[in-house]
Symmetry: C2
Subunit: 228 residues, 2 copies
Amino acid sequence: MTLTPKGLATRQRIVEGGAALLRSEDAGEVTLDDVRAATRTSKSQLFHYFPGGKEELLLEVARYEADRVLADQQPYLGRLDSWGAWEGWRQAVIARYRAQGASCPLSSLMRHGDVPGGAEVISALLRRWQEELRRGIVTMQQKGEVSPDVNGELTAAALIAGVQGGVAVLRSTGDTTHLAAVLGLLIAQLRDSRSYSSPSWHPRATAAADATSRSNTGRSSSSVASSQ
Amino acid sequence: MTLTPKGLATRQRIVEGGAALLRSEDAGEVTLDDVRAATRTSKSQLFHYFPGGKEELLLEVARYEADRVLADQQPYLGRLDSWGAWEGWRQAVIARYRAQGASCPLSSLMRHGDVPGGAEVISALLRRWQEELRRGIVTMQQKGEVSPDVNGELTAAALIAGVQGGVAVLRSTGDTTHLAAVLGLLIAQLRDSRSYSSPSWHPRATAAADATSRSNTGRSSSSVASSQ
DNA sequence: AACTTTTTGGACCCACAAGTCCATAAAGCT
DNA sequence: AGCTTTATGGACTTGTGGGTCCAAAAAGTT
């Protein structure tokens, strides 16, 4: 069951066509017949290249899209070593998802619990993504642009949540305000951290239970980023 | 076509049963037969009380759940007038969604674009939610606990995005870290804002295009909240 | 060229889920 | 009680979508 060049091309065409469909339609709504029509293939081809049927096809599309997600954030994401790069990244994210508008194929799969391995693809993506952000924060700390007191891991996690939520809101309201706001605020917080001060309370990455007691007397200011 | 008390009760039973199902299963996966079984009703009853069929039923469930979302955040959400209340709110949100775990019925509907009016229910919920948060911020500003320079509208939007994203991540990884982190950070930013300082750049709610130029020289510190 | 393997077309099957229909039971009303 | 309206049960229809199958075309191999 080896793949000839021709077969490989066909397979790729199917994946890309499927991805395109999932960008405009929900995962549960796309039918194999849609894919067939969009890729000018026959039923037997779909099952030939994806013996596991729809599930396997969707999983492959998910992998394909997961790579695109990170790729679309380059070159910024890989080089978060200046405030300009951070702003560029923020804009790239906003632009990407504004353009996409409808429903991103991944969140389609995200909740498609019935696809075994789908959750794994998603969480792997989130891990890679978060790690890139964390490295960006560390880089900024090394350059003295971000306070060493900042917990990079936690802030990266917050940024990930912010992106996901911003995109979720965007998808259901068509408005980029929330996405822009949360990223702007979190980045502003990073930027302002360097200006120094007295954190009476230190961030912990591996915090055990809950930080209910957080009496804080540090003085500081917070700036707020904006963009519609 | 008036509803007798008995009929009303049945109708309610269907809505609640449907909501329960949607809490554990995806909207697209739940069948009318599932609802029928779970609510001990017959096919004809479903169509009797919801002539619009599945669509109308889902919409009704969405409305029902939307109310619950806000209700589950009380009494904190309606009374964000102290840092304790904010922390209580944060904990309530985390607890609620951790307990729910699986998929929230709303996000199920959120992307179910084929349900006319569904998007409206969602965005109405988000608006109400965001407004409550905004009022909380204003209250804190009036009490001098939050800097008047903070843009409440924008910060509330960011919190909404944070919650949505945190929950999204939670749903696909089972981890509350992101949710806790983003809320913790945003609230910490609010708390630290009061400590005063010199915002050279002022937040704007109705900002026109993009804030690419945000040279900021304000001095401040940032604290980071944590919680597993 | 003869033969094997891969690729492709599309008819067919099957399960399942939404929605329809009619008959019957149970209220509600006078 | 007698009549009307509402509530309920469940069989039946219908459309659709995933998956199977077989046969033929196109490569690849010697």
